[in-house]
């Protein structure tokens, strides 16, 4: 990617964010059914109450105006009130988001930690059994329904072997004061290594469910970019200089092979974010995805709307971050 392409992406970013906000707005306004009716369906509301709610939600105004109000509120962190929780949506989300981010980050870490050595090994030994196994694993990775994989892991490692808890994030007796919202951090800050280990054991299965299929895919990407790089003249030249094999592989080759992998990694991170909704449901992980799924059945529209917008903004930002990182890693792109 050239510097010009980067500038193009920089201009695109606000456009895409604008588009995303419009789509989220339309999603909630143009869909069939009157939201007020649905929201009040379970309560015997009078027509006046319905009118009042409509006015409160601004539903009586023209669409463009409603959109501007929506965006204006969103920019100030005002996503309305979650009736179900009787609290501002913003508070509910900021309470749940760390759990989702923690899960996704650890899954990403697992994906990278598994994919890099396997991808490199498969590239070095092409057409070996490892290479073939990796090809098969990548196919399984894209064909495996995540929710079912999670259930299999629960069945084997939690129910049968009892190595890990069935679900949840941390037991009550290991709770620690909220500092960052990331339990792996907070337990250590609280000086509770026991709680850290218990948090880790709760995190293990969901993170593996999320991370392992992604690892298979990522390993394939690294394998192909690595085999391309291994054929490059500069790898031959590095070997001709008599450098240790490790340095040739992991510095000269891998540093260049990882540049295209970073883009894939960011896209993977985004799909992990989507997949986390499923995994959180399977494992009873108290993150944003679970609260959204619950919110759907509670007809908690402001919460769902805010969460969808948030997921999309994170996703778009991640993709943009990948382009920046690509540019930063690649010395040929100078800003």
């Amino acid at each position: 990617m050239s510097a010009a392409r980067l500038v193009e992406r920089l201009i695109q970013l606000p456009l895409v964010l604008f588009g995303v906000s419009v789509v989220v707005f339309l999603m909630m306004t143009l869909t069939p059914g009157d939201p007020v009716e649905i929201m009040l369906a379970d309560q015997r509301a009078t027509e006046e109450q319905a009118q009042a709610l409509r006015r409160d939600l601004g539903l009586d105004r023209p669409l463009p105006e409603r959109y501007l109000i929506f965006v204006g509120n969103a920019l100030t962190g005002d996503f309305g009130v979650s009736f179900f929780h009787r609290r501002p949506v913003f508070d509910v989300i900021s309470e749940r988001l760390p759990a989702t981010i923690e899960l996704t980050l650890v899954a990403l870490l697992i994906a990278v930690a598994v994919a890099v050595p396997l991808g490199v090994a498969a590239a070095v030994k092409r057409d070996s059994w490892l290479d073939r196994a990796l090809t098969a694993a990548a196919l399984f990775g894209v064909s495996l329904p995540g929710f079912w994989f999670g259930i299999l892991l629960i069945l084997l490692f939690a129910v049968q072997l009892g190595w890990f808890p069935v679900g949840g994030r941390i037991p009550f007796d290991a709770e620690v004061p909220w500092v960052s919202g990331f339990l792996l951090v907070d337990t250590l800050l609280a000086g509770r290594p026991d709680a850290f280990l218990r948090a880790l054991s709760h995190l293990a299965l969901p993170a593996i469910t999320l991370g392992l299929p992604a690892a298979a895919l990522l390993a394939r990407v690294i394998r192909s970019s690595m085999s391309e790089v291994l054929a490059a003249d500069y790898v031959l030249f590095a070997e001709a200089k008599g450098l240790p094999r490790r340095r040739v592989l992991f510095l000269h080759a891998l540093k260049n092979a990882l540049i295209p992998a970073v883009t894939v990694l960011a896209i993977e991170a985004g799909s992990l974010l989507g997949g986390s909704m499923i995994v959180e449901t399977v494992f009873g992980w108290p993150g944003l995805g679970r609260v959204v799924v619950e919110g759907i059945f509670a007809r908690n529209y402001p919460l769902v709307q805010a969460a969808v917008l948030l997921y999309a903004v994170i996703y778009v930002t991640l993709n943009f971050g990948a382009d920046l990182l690509y540019a930063a890693l690649n010395p040929k792109v100078r800003l």
Binding site: Y234, F237, E239, A240, K241, G242, P331
Partner: protein, 321 residues
């Protein structure tokens, strides 16, 4: 003549292809003495690069050196354990490549790429100071400040010289220079070649100069080795070989090239095509393009002594003129 620095006998390097094994180098014999410059000429695909990558032990799988003896300082590199050969690479045998842009790692600084070579071979002294000295020696101005530059920040000529500085960093005894000056302009080319001459005289560096450029060979190399279709066609003192070729291919090669001293001489490209290396027989490989070919050329032709330190793989060597 004392024992040569490098002595290669019966080298055969094979690459498997869909149509069967392809011997890119097949029965190659040659010697290089310390401080000597050997020119290696031949068309692309003649096996000159493969021969020297085999010497360096850098043939990539699935290709492999199938047979032969590669004696360097009296030891057979083919029988040497991999770590030992690795330690020798860069330190004793070095490689300079045709295109520095692709030979230098785009994501590491020039400084890193020199210093790592010095460190890998435990060269004493401050590696940074030595790196600056090396870059200065190949004529890169303000070398201390350019250590932090990436290859793409160097100009083409500077890159090529920096690459040669890296190759020579650990003071090897033999430099395999694969078309090292093709991409350079005339002044810089002269500079690089002069540097190599200097090192040969001062340090006894031996140079194997792989090139298309007969002019460079004529000017810089005492001896020349002409390769064709994976075999040595002819070797001998350069001036002798050019004046009186002892192989029809050498002669054809020279007639196909323009000459500065006779600009109006008509050029005669060699008719026909290089044979398919996956489908050659034991006979002379040039006979399908050769004006002197006779029935006996279908029998195996050894590299034989044709006098005055010259070898030729032609049964009618004496008739070539």
């Amino acid at each position: 003549m004392s024992a040569p620095l490098l002595s290669v006998r019966g080298l055969r390097t094979v690459f498997p292809t869909r149509r069967g094994p392809l011997a890119a180098a097949d029965g190659v014999d040659f010697d290089i003495a310390a401080g000597e410059a050997l020119g290696v000429v031949g068309e692309s695909g003649s096996g000159k690069s493969v021969t020297f990558l085999s010497v360096l032990g850098l043939i990539r799988p699935p290709g492999r050196v199938e047979a032969g003896e590669i004696l360097f300082g009296g030891r057979d590199l083919r029988r040497m354990p991999a770590p030992e050969l690795r330690a020798l690479r860069g330190r004793m045998l070095a490689l300079a490549m045709q295109d520095a842009l692709s030979a230098l790692n785009p994501s590491l600084t020039i400084g890193t790429q020199i210093v790592e070579t010095l460190r890998a071979h435990g060269i004493p002294g401050d590696p940074r100071a030595e790196a600056v000295r090396l870059l200065g020696r190949v004529g890169i101005p303000d070398a201390a400040r350019r250590l932090g530059d990436y290859p793409h920040q160097f100009s083409g000529g500077m890159r090529q010289r920096a690459m040669i500085a890296i190759s020579l960093a650990a003071r090897p005894r033999l430099l395999v220079a694969d078309e090292p000056t093709t991409a350079l302009d005339v002044t810089i080319r002269a500079q690089v070649l002069y540097l190599l001459d200097e090192l040969r005289v001062e340090d006894g560096l031996a140079v194997a100069m792989i090139t298309h450029d007969l002019a460079v060979v004529a000017e810089r190399c005492e001896r020349v080795m002409v390769m064709y279709a994976g075999q040595v066609a002819e070797t001998g003192p350069t001036a002798e070989v050019i004046a009186r070729p002892r192989h029809p291919y050498t002669r054809g090669l020279m007639e196909s090239l323009p000459r500065l001293d006779q600009p109006d001489r008509p050029l005669h490209p060699i008719p026909g095509q290089v044979p398919d290396l996956a489908a050659v027989d034991a006979g002379c490989r040039f006979r399908n393009r050769c004006a002197l070919a006779v029935a006996a050329c279908a029998a195996p032709v050894p590299l034989r002594d044709v006098g005055a330190e010259r070898l030729s793989r032609c049964i009618r060597a004496e008739e070539v003129s």
